[in-house]
Subunit: 311 residues, 2 copies
């Protein structure tokens, strides 16, 4: 067993890098900017230089490093080939080969949402389980499936795209993906705002949500304060997400479902609204799945990336 | 590489057994009855005797046998523990240990629907792909997910229970599982009959389906003859199954979707009705998944079981 591995979370603005020991302790953590100019051609050399610089600084030799894992904002197949990462300006490229060549170290890569799921399984909300679903409720709804301790990658690296499960035949607004009625349109931060705006327009009841700016945080703060309209919005949110996760569970039969992303900052109240509807709609074989909150926050990516090379 | 392996498909009435070479050729194939009396305690000894008898008959020694795979009608976890197989009278039991002890050979077990999926991947409709979904459209709707060439087992062995994905909030009839509105209620053989009976009751148009007994075969025969009402029923069927498989694809991103079971005998017309709605509802990353018909029929189980021990 080697002493070190690196986990890289490649985002559209910054690259987070962590140096880990094999038990999951972060020894060093830092960031560099993501240089997207020149079709993103500087990104991997910048990452390689940052890692090689850290190794020199700490007198870490190559033979004490298991490898470098990296999470990428785009679909990455099981061979490490990214199929266009629009945010970075990248076309088709084998990341494992290119970054591995620069570093002269083993490299493994995967989609960033899937890598976050692996991180939460290793050291976060899903710790101790091997079959897990992560739903990341942010601007959109991302997801990652862990089966037998490994990422479910899928044929083209698009496994775990649970935000685009079709939930509503009557939706008139278009999802960012081009379809209508995706889970993401109701269970993301913007989805909660959509549900709230529609509810407020359809009822005359007083609500604290009629004052100030609508946000997912405002809705769940109002739920905690007992606001009746906010509670109705949370029921709708819970039914969409609970039903969607029940569908996911019929496919992958998870032991634990972890809720992460900005919306999950609402805390345990979120799990209550979601699990109620999950249990209503799911097949009995998956009814006992446990709902937990993600615990690694923005570090899930570097944890999961490091774990990629320890598998 | 050893010369032989056995694949066992344990059903409620008969046990099918196949002797295979490692390339997937069936060398021998036979059946024995499933003795369900005495809480099913005779079933595994009967199977062991059948296999040991065949080995003696053909002068096959233990060291030329890779192992014995077995598909079981119930949830089997990744350690080989079956968690109640109601049809067989079994409680909780580690099949790998019990049958392995009787045979003094390596044994691997899995759920029968999942094993059928593995068989179709190895030698049937999914040949050549590693990421596949099998939907078995029989009395119910069973399923199996193959990810990176292996069965997606799930926490309790209930991976691939796609027949119980929730599809319809307005269903008044109860599914066998206790829920309302499961995919199985519309996409199984009995589901097609349900859709047909409802359609015939709701319209006044002439249809050949008003004469004779309703069945999934009668409906698709009428579709091929151009019967208007039958075609409308097939559209409804296609929308339910296509939408359900689109949900599955958002989770596992398959390369190929194989349709099997009695309903799939309708042939290519089935794929046409289903793929049209699949493409409408699926996330773009999975839109190119190919629809194929299962090709191993009732032998999928013995093929998949044999493949279990070759992995």
């Amino acid at each position: 067993m080697n002493k070190y591995c690196f986990g890289v979370d490649l985002g559209g603005t910054t690259v987070k890098i962590g140096l880990f020991d094999p038990e999951g302790s972060v020894l060093e953590k830092w960031e560099i900017p993501t240089r997207k100019d020149d079709s993103g051609n500087n990104i991997l050399p910048d990452i390689a230089n940052a890692i090689l610089g850290k190794m020199a600084e700490m007198n870490i030799t190559r033979d004490s490093v298991t490898g470098v894992g990296i999470g990428v904002p785009g679909p990455v197949d099981s061979d490490g080939v990214v199929h266009r990462a629009v945010n970075l300006g990248w076309g088709v490229m084998n990341i494992n080969d290119v970054l591995g060549g620069l570093l002269q170290l083993p490299v493994k890569s995967a989609n960033d949402a899937n890598v976050a799921a692996l991180g939460e399984m290793w050291c976060g909300g899903g710790k101790g389980c091997k079959n897990m679903v992560l739903a990341t409720l942010g601007t959109g709804v991302g997801g990652g499936i862990i089966a037998e301790g490994k990422i479910l990658t899928g044929a083209m690296g698009a496994g775990g795209e649970i935000g685009h499960i079709h939930m509503n035949d009557n939706e008139q607004e278009e999802c960012g993906c081009g379809n209508f009625g995706c889970l993401e349109q109701y269970a993301s931060a913007t989805g909660v705002v959509r549900l709230a705006a529609r509810k407020l327009a359809s009822v005359n009841d007083d609500s604290v949500l009629r004052n100030g700016e609508l946000s997912a945080k405002a809705v769940f703060d109002a739920v905690k304060a007992g606001d009746k309209v906010a509670c109705e919005i949370a029921e709708q949110f819970g039914e969409y997400l609970g039903k969607g996760l029940a569908m996911v569970a019929c496919v992958v039969n998870p032991e634990v479902i972890v809720l992460g992303g900005g919306v999950s900052k609402a805390g345990e109240v979120l799990c209550e609204y979601v699990s109620k509807y999950y249990e209503k709609y799911v097949h009995f074989a998956s009814r006992k799945a446990e709902f937990r909150l993600a615990s690694l926050g923005n570090d899930a990516g570097i944890y999961g990336a490091a774990k990629l090379v320890l598998e």
